[in-house]
Symmetry: C2
Subunit: 308 residues, 2 copies
Amino acid sequence: MIEKLIQKIEETKAPIVAGLDPMLKFIPKAILQKAFAEQGETLEGAAQAVWEFNKGIIDAIYDLIPAVKPQIAMYEQFGIPGLMAYKKTVDYCKEKDLVVIGDVKRGDIGSTSAAYAAGHLGRVQVGSQSYAPFDEDFVTVNPYLGTDGVKPFVDVCKEHNKGLFVLVKTSNPSSGEFQDRLVDGRPLYEWVGEKVDEWGRDHMGKKYSYIGAVIGATYPEMGKTLRKLMPQTFFLVPGYGAQGAKGADLVNFFNEDGLGAIVNSSRGIIAAYQQEAYAAYGEDGYSQASRKAVEDMTADIRQALESV
Amino acid sequence: MIEKLIQKIEETKAPIVAGLDPMLKFIPKAILQKAFAEQGETLEGAAQAVWEFNKGIIDAIYDLIPAVKPQIAMYEQFGIPGLMAYKKTVDYCKEKDLVVIGDVKRGDIGSTSAAYAAGHLGRVQVGSQSYAPFDEDFVTVNPYLGTDGVKPFVDVCKEHNKGLFVLVKTSNPSSGEFQDRLVDGRPLYEWVGEKVDEWGRDHMGKKYSYIGAVIGATYPEMGKTLRKLMPQTFFLVPGYGAQGAKGADLVNFFNEDGLGAIVNSSRGIIAAYQQEAYAAYGEDGYSQASRKAVEDMTADIRQALESV
């Protein structure tokens, strides 16, 4: 799956992932009104609005980008109907040949991590039958519980040609509270990064491992250090746009081959029409505003990479 | 909700939480066969078997214990039907007046953590209506992302009288890989524990905070240190039974008032009939085997606490 991701990045020339993190406040009124008219102001109504909003965006941008990253929390908040919309979104993106990174940040111990891994990346056995319930291509994983929390995910990835992005240094303001604490003179995130590199050696593609890392765009200096520390690890880089990082900040996350990182933007893409720069598209043109935002983001990152 | 938990611990004299972590291999053949006959060997069939298995156990033990802890991974692995069985289990346990600790180990940043919190503990707004999609009483939370990952959960807890158990020192063998690393001469889990204590002061019950901590029974010496460091924090203590900890190991996790901790056992209770000690109950008597296992566990812990 890392090979497919790299191939699609090379085809689209866009090391970009669109974060499908729909909040109701991002959704144009016409879509909300239609969904509520059909389903009422219910969880089902919210889920329908989310799905129709997503579909509009996916249809408008799928040819420009290699991958999407639906954030499951934004669906899970609407309970079972919300999770059905998540599944529908995953399936539809796969139909469009997009690589799907499920941003689930799961992580537990032993058989429990194995259950998450089976449900999201692998197959679950029911009597003589087996099923792939969510079937994302990659998921994000939290490393706080250590190797026996992550290893069951790696095992399932190996069996089913899937991949992970393990949280190393997150993009949020207080990520440093624990992640930056010095252990034997080096920040914890470096130790976590080394473990990710170690787990990843067990499941290599041609040049990069199937086991990637999440490194926030908001910390470019740390990205530089980690890039050297983990040359074979692909980075999923959140924090571009709404969280403040710009194209020039991103150079540190890439290798000299122009690969090694994929940059996420969520509301910067999906709620582009609510920003001044794309306001002219209006609510009706929300999906075309998203397309333009993807084109601008791609140009910004390409320019930054070319000017190195 | 922490007051309700404490009141129920005092009523039942059992500082015990039953981990509802059903795996198909724990479920008696008769239940599986009936579910597969009605629903086929499908995700729906698995979910029905899980639900009927749970119901039998809940009916057999609800009067003996204050709380249950369903592990959402064991349901999520069966996709949407599995998550429907999770929700049904949560609702049924609440009908039986059990405190429900959703073992979801979620954790993200800002608005994403807020979405998880709304979906699991609070309410989500849809137009003019609001809903409580999962509505557990407590959930477990992963602290790796720091204060701005946990604070949105705390805010929702305050608004809705709910609580958290934040991972501090987990029960698994490799929990020490990151959690035990020394930061300024003290292990990381102590720093995390202090933060949990700090977050918890913002949402206090009479004596204990609504914001608790997960501390593995398998590390009793560390439990002792943390007990002193966090006197107002309630501990959720996994690792009893199947993971190796015994009653005598647990004394360190309690305060002198006999409170301050609730000990989880999962397969030790729900799959008791598969153990030699309870094999005489047979598959048909699986729920009564679970009842006996709860009684034995309660006696073991009470004896240990009284012998201090």
